[in-house]
Subunit: 255 residues, 2 copies
């Protein structure tokens, strides 16, 4: 959940480097304590399902994009804000999938050293070093529309293929796994996949997406019929530049 991002961003913005005397001063008290949001942002590109990850400056610490909840902010709104800040998108498909609340899911030690490396010395009981319960959301976005945006603390914000994910901090690997499971079970009943597609796509693209999410090969004719029978696709054009074969149709999602 890269706990410190929001907090340190705040500090930098205010150029305020004095030591904290009070644990619940302005910087911390704007957010609910002990609660965070972690977002698993899925995109589809190059026939691969990818996840947006943050990398910590000059180190190999990777983490899910995340953030806190303002004291007057609805949970849903906070989640939208978090994803929006990293992708630049506004209309985002978001699904709350699980809460991660083991008492010792996050070791505060590495966090403390990162904070100190940024010239900040947190007190023993600083709220950022206390236990955090994290609410997991997954977002489905159109890869082509996203401009990954790092912040002042994390200088990396990039896509990683699902089979290419670097070691993540805390229990973020568990979170990604759970998000994927959830996506999988929602695939059919919520028609969730179309949020991952660009405006126009071929049947083959869509099938490749289904195959990566479900992690198994599907039969082409069966897939085509199944999807078309849903009556949610509109044929756009018959043209396609490329291979030495029949030109596939382009489809558009309707409704």
């Amino acid at each position: 959940m890269f706990i410190f991002t929001k907090y340190l961003s705040y500090r930098i913005k205010h150029m305020d480097n004095r030591k904290e005397k009070n644990e619940s001063d302005a910087a911390g008290s704007d957010y609910m304590h002990g609660l965070a949001i972690d977002a698993v942002i899925f995109g589809f590109h190059d026939h691969q399902l990818k996840v947006l990850l943050m990398q910590y400056k000059r180190s190999n610490i990777y983490a899910l994009p995340g953030g806190f909840i303002h004291k007057e902010e609805n949970l849903e709104d906070a989640a939208h804000r978090v994803v929006s800040e990293r992708t630049g998108l506004t209309d985002i498909y978001l699904e709350q999938f699980h809460v991660f609340g083991d008492a010792h899911r996050a070791d505060p030690a590495p966090l403390r050293s990162i904070m100190m490396a940024n010239g900040f010395e947190p007190g023993e009981n600083h709220w950022l070093l206390q236990r955090f319960v994290s609410i997991g959301y997954y977002a489905l976005v159109d890869f082509t529309k996203v401009t990954p945006m790092p912040d002042r603390i994390f200088d990396g914000c990039n896509w990683y293929g699902l089979n290419d994910i670097p070691p993540l901090m805390q229990d973020h690997e568990t979170i990604v796994k759970k998000a994927l499971e959830s996506l999988r079970t929602n695939l059919d009943n919520k028609l969730v996949a179309f949020n991952l597609m660009p405006e126009e796509f071929t049947m083959n693209d869509l099938q490749a997406l289904y195959e990566t999410i479900l992690d198994k090969k599907l039969l082409r004719p069966a897939f085509q019929r199944k999807i078309l029978s849903l009556n949610i696709l509109q044929r756009i054009a018959k043209k396609w530049t490329g291979g030495a074969h029949k030109a596939p149709y382009l489809y558009k999602f309707i409704r």
Copy 2:
């Protein structure tokens, strides 16, 4: 989430009626602030799906059983504890289904007056009157094994049929509704229903349960075949005391 129960129980236990000077003193600091658990405990009896509700002393305030999370307690453990305290059971099927986190989901006014009616005057910023994010769990229990247990604050703890639920405090009606939806979608893939059955039951009992959960009639032969084809039932006895008709088999859930 009957926010005050745990808290007031604590106070009564310690017979400590001095006014609070510090918002984060012993009474409050044992729990995570701003986070609560609400449990929708389902039972099945008399061919009806029922929910366990708490009633506040000498009033018509009904609420879901709930509680807080100790600072060193896993979320799952807290949920088990909460359900355990109200049902007396230990092996409980629990499923986390949704988090309710709108900023203004709970009006603090009625809570304040209840606290005051109990001889306690909370400060303006008391943690119990602040915003709470609530994590919803539903429990599936064997109705016949439960002894509903009120606590010192709520004197009522009783089963209510789903179509017979009194007006609930805060957004607890939304929570019940969402729990039911979740139960419904999990019915088939998680074989969740058997947790609601006593050890031995007839096919008709089971069908009645499915029918109330799904809220629709099912065809008897189809249901029988579908369930038996799962190979998770064992026939126990052919005997049955009662009606003027063929004796139904008793079944037992295996594995």
